[in-house]
């Protein structure tokens, strides 16, 4: 290995790489003319929408493209040696010991039937031939390095006994066992909660520094890349369109796609009425339907016919910046500082009367220890604890919190899929908390509707889009004949801006964003007054997110709908909601207007949540608060304050009040409530988490 350590050129050199997949019908070029370098200790971020070829690049580096994937051009050099010229044995050795890959789904990399310790020790035993005992020692060391509590217990556990965040840490530990020089992370935190994500990102950064590992970090989240990487490469439809250092690309972008991407994500300070998000028009081209010339041409604001669609475009250096290149013919002519041409400014809807009032709502589930012969010892899961709030006409109330905090349960109670254990839910003046959905009248049911999270299963795959909307109309007793309902269905498609031909399509012929629009049309079929949107855009690509969010806002303005927006993405919450409710372990810990919640004083949990959100803006300074440990189980909640196991302010409260007493709901200002024991003067000392640096 002596020659390896002596090597000081780039760790990874990708030069004009092209990768295609071959199917029965055609060749699908997934990556074209892709070049990138990763220097020792450097982290390169690879961003782009799903399907643009990010993962294919990673698999190409791993030389693991499956049976129908082939590198059709270019080279990949690892430490100066061309990977395609290596023998299978050499490759296997490099893959195991020098390049490690971490996937989105931790369980995909773990063997469910093997104890963690054994899985970790296996790596060096195979690749370096060290003794089992020594390997076990090293395993314990890396488990400590990835900051897992109680390493000895973890080593003896099976993967399913760990939480998602812990599993991902183990996968990282496994990758580190062989001390790789290159770590490839493919959306490593997409499946995790923000606070867990923040902790993992922190960990990856530290480890990169500690071991000097180079990283290829793949993500669709610009904010995350800003936080983790030194350099960035933006991909669009199989090509790298812009690459350079983080500062250059974020602040002096030189490609229209990068610009459009930044304009479609909400940044702190953006307001939904004054500066609405600008969605990228049109759709991502399918690999075999790419236009001539610039791939981004059909969606580009600066498109110039006869020039942009003339022929292949190559990367051009941006003078004056370090290794900054862009694939745009007109980058020198475009005025990059020109403000976006705004769509007409929207009038903010007038917030009306209270339509929904929730008072002291409790929802407990009884879980029998043994379901067959239930009875003996039952456990109570407190999914919702004393929740009180109001929602008004035309208002957007955001409900934020990590998974398992009781957001979905609350939605279920509102919808009537579950009945409340205690407390009241009033729709107008009708109390509905204990009326199951079958017993509600059609008007009540159609008044509260839901938009679901996962676009891939929000629609029934075996029924046409039109049929599904018509069914909702039938159930809501709208229209007297089939023909009337069909007309109304077409109007609903217009409402969500889908072409009318879509009525006869099957869901699988629609893209994720289009399916989500159908889901919205279906929710509004009966003239819903309250729409519960459960993470409606979190599974969509950023450019599509903006369009779907705007659609929701627009319908809300016209129909005066009350929107309960469930989300964990605080940037979008800040952008579109009027009021925010923060939940933790079934409790509402903070409730107030968006400004009140996003500025101090905070509830300690809100503070941590805010600091965990990655923000794609180099001028933003953020306080780093990493939450230790995992969210406790609702089956076995901590005594006293639900947040006391992870709270960094706990020591400021005299005595052991936090551990013994559930804090009261305190009024901080008009409409702002916090559930915490902290004294007023300490709360007043809190600094803002997010600061926009003065220019």
């Amino acid at each position: 290995m002596a020659e390896d350590t002596a090597y000081d050129g780039p760790i990874l050199e990708i030069d004009k790489l092209s990768i295609s997949f071959f199917t029965r019908l055609r060749e699908i070029p997934a990556v074209m003319d892709f070049s990138a370098n990763v220097m020792p200790g450097e982290a390169l971020g690879l961003v782009g929408e799903s399907g643009c070829g990010k993962s294919t690049v990673a698999l190409g580096v791993m030389q693991d493209l499956g049976v129908n994937g082939k590198i059709v051009g270019g080279t990949i050099k690892f430490k100066g040696r061309d990977l395609s010229e290596m023998s299978p044995e050499e490759l296997r050795d490099i893959r195991g010991s020098q390049i490690a890959m971490i996937y989105q789904e931790p369980m995909a990399s773990l063997n469910p039937a093997m104890k963690i310790g054994k899985q970790l020790a296996e790596v060096p035993v195979i690749h370096e031939g060290i003794s089992e005992e020594e390997a076990m020692k090293r395993a314990r060391q890396v488990v400590e390095d990835v900051k897992l509590p109680d390493p000895d217990r973890i080593l003896k556990a099976y993967p399913h006994q760990l939480s998602g965040g812990q599993q991902q840490r183990i996968v990282i530990a496994m990758a580190l066992m062989s001390k790789p020089s290159l770590l490839i992370l493919d959306e490593p935190t997409t499946a995790l909660d923000v606070t867990v994500e923040a902790a993992i990102v922190e960990l990856v950064k530290d480890l990169g520094k500690k071991y000097g590992t180079s990283m290829l970090f793949i993500s669709h989240n610009l904010g995350l890349v800003l936080e983790t990487c030194d350099r960035i490469c933006v991909m669009y439809s199989g090509e790298a369109v812009e690459r350079g250092s983080i500062e250059d690309v974020f602040d002096e972008m030189k490609h229209p796609y990068t610009q459009a991407l930044f304009r479609s994500i909400p940044l702190p300070g953006a307001d939904k009425n004054a500066s609405p998000l600008i969605a990228i028009p049109g759709n991502f081209p399918l690999p075999h339907e790419r236009p001539n010339g610039c791939n981004f041409g059909p969606r580009c604001d600066y498109f110039e016919a006869g020039r942009c669609d003339a022929g292949p475009i190559s990367m051009a250096q941006v003078e004056g910046n370090d290794r900054h290149a862009t694939r745009c013919l007109r980058f020198q002519e475009i005025d990059w500082s020109a403000p976006p041409t705004l769509a007409d400014k929207k009038e903010k809807g007038v917030i009306g009367d209270t339509v929904l009032k929730v008072d002291n709502l409790k929802k407990y589930y009884e879980v029998a220890a043994n379901s067959m012969f239930g009875g003996a010892d039952k456990k109570v899961v407190k999914a919702n604890e004393t929740i009180s709030f109001e929602a008004r006409e035309s208002e957007t109330l955001a409900i934020v919190g990590e998974s398992g905090c009781g957001k979905s349960t609350l939605a279920k109670v509102l919808m009537g899929l579950e009945t409340a254990t205690e407390g009241q839910v009033m729709l107008d003046n009708l109390s509905i908390e204990s009326t199951e959905i079958q017993d509600r009248d059609t008007r009540t049911v159609s008044s509260i509707q839901m938009v679901f999270q996962n676009p891939f299963d929000t629609l029934n795959p075996s029924m046409t889009v039109g049929r599904q909307i018509i069914r909702a109309l039938e159930i809501f007793k709208i229209g007297n004949t089939e023909a009337e309902r069909r007309v109304r269905m077409l109007e609903l498609l217009d409402l969500v801006k889908l072409p009318r031909e879509f009525a006869d399509r099957m869901p699988r012929q629609l893209s994720g964003g289009q399916k989500q629009r159908v889901g919205i049309a279906r929710a509004f079929a009966g003239g819903a007054r309250i729409v519960v949107a459960d993470e409606p855009v979190s599974a969509l690509d950023v450019s599509v997110q903006a369009a779907v969010t705007d659609l929701l806002m627009e319908i809300q303005r016209n129909e005066k709908t009350t929107l309960l927006f469930i989300s964990h993405d605080l940037s979008i919450v800040r952008y579109l909601s009027d009021r925010v409710m923060v939940m933790y372990l079934g409790h509402v810990v903070e409730l107030g207007s968006t400004d009140q919640v996003f500025s101090p004083p905070y509830h300690p949990y809100t503070e941590a949540l805010l600091s965990a959100v990655p923000i794609a803006d180099t001028s933003v300074e953020k306080k780093h608060i990493v939450l230790e440990g995992d969210i406790p189980s609702a089956m076995n909640p901590p005594s006293g304050c639900p947040f006391q196991t992870r709270c960094r302010w706990k020591s400021e409260v005299p005595g052991n009040l936090c551990e013994t007493e559930v804090p009261p709901q305190r009024k901080m200002a008009a409409g702002h409530e916090i559930k915490c024991h902290l004294a007023d003067d300490i709360l007043a000392q809190m600094d803002p988490v997010i600061k926009i640096a003065a220019e």
């Binding site: 059709v72 999270q453 299963d457 929000t458």
Partner: protein, 474 residues
Amino acid sequence: MDPITWTGSLGPFLNPLMLAAIAVFVLGFFAQLVLNFAGVQPGEVQINPDHTLSVARSPNDYALMAMKYAVLLFLACVAVFIVGGIVQPSLEQKGIIGAMGQRFLPVWIAMILIFALSVTFKRRLGLYGKLFDSPIGMVGFFLVMFWMLTAIFAGLVATHGAIDVVSQMRNEVPGSFMPDPDEGEYLVYLLGGDNLGRDVFSRMVFGAREVLKIAPAATLFAFMVGITLGLPAGYFGGKLDTVLTFIANLVLAFPVILLFYLLVTPEIVASGIPTYMAAVLFLFPIIFFVILFNSRFFTQPFTRNIYIFLTVLIGGWLYLGLAWNSDPLGIISMPGNILIVFVSVVFVNSPTVFRIVRGIVLDIKTRDYVAAGQTRGEGPWYIMLWEILPNARGPLIVDFCLRIGYTTILLGTLGFFGLGVSPESPDWGSTINEGRRLLTIYPHPALPPAIALMTMVLGLNLLADGLREESLRD
């Protein structure tokens, strides 16, 4: 007169060819085996700079190619025999293979039509159309269709009646001439005669009809029962699920053959138990369709009433005829012994279907479109039958194919034990059983039904494989 030969006048030319094909196949097989052991890799697909593909062939590929062409040559020879059988005038010239090929003429015509239509329109035919992308699926479909069409055209294909006895033809070898044929009667027993002097070929052909009359229908009934119970068990869960699953396991734990023996015991038949079981089991399809239409159309009472009225009318009529043998019009009836077979097949198959359906429901009920149905206030049966069931069709169709195969074997087994169908019946199981006794001296009466049963079950399995493979692909 000497019996006619297998290959007739074309034999002298084609037999050496077919032998050669077999030899090449065997050689290729061993060559490939040896090459693989020697570490010779199959050739790699290479990409040329102009983005075209080419294959660098290795000896391994040549061995595989040789095997492939040998199979094609063999099939081509068979095809020539069949065509020869159709065009040549005399039985001696046709040979046994040719003559059989000619008898199957209606089957060939229908088959060519079906394949031509299906392949032409395969892009518009959904999952069924995709079957024609998979060679395995096509072979399976061919085998299954072959026996289906044979069953349909049995009257045209068969040379004699299923129970016509000509005592001189007892145990005669394939191709034997009839002693003194009547005017217009077929001159030979193509596959010989059995120990009572009946024509083996015709019994095999009529056997297909016998088997295909019962197996798919019984399987369909088993599916109705399994689905009607599996949906609520999976969807509602809880006590209902626990009880139904327990019962299903109980039935599954019961030895099938013992159950059949019990069901055909005269005392039990006399006590009416099979009829009562039929009465219960046959009620499920009616319940199934009534719920199906009601949940879908309850918002349009008029349409709903029409559907339900028709279901109850037609279903009730079939029900009275099949289960109680008391069709007021006297058209529908089912002989007692077939009823027993039917009941037993449904009884032993539905628990497995139940478990499959329950499992799929447990998975699909967590999908958002199910939640969307719930939040707009749909009833549970609409969600089960219209939101969940259509999306479970993939695995269910595959299982349906496999299960027809099991049922066919089960019917064969029953026939083999002399249970169920009447002793005269030409169904394959019974025929194999009869032939068994003289198997060592006269193998020809037992082999054709055995091969028929084998190819049919093989076809169903391949078909299921093809469907499964293609349904996963998109």
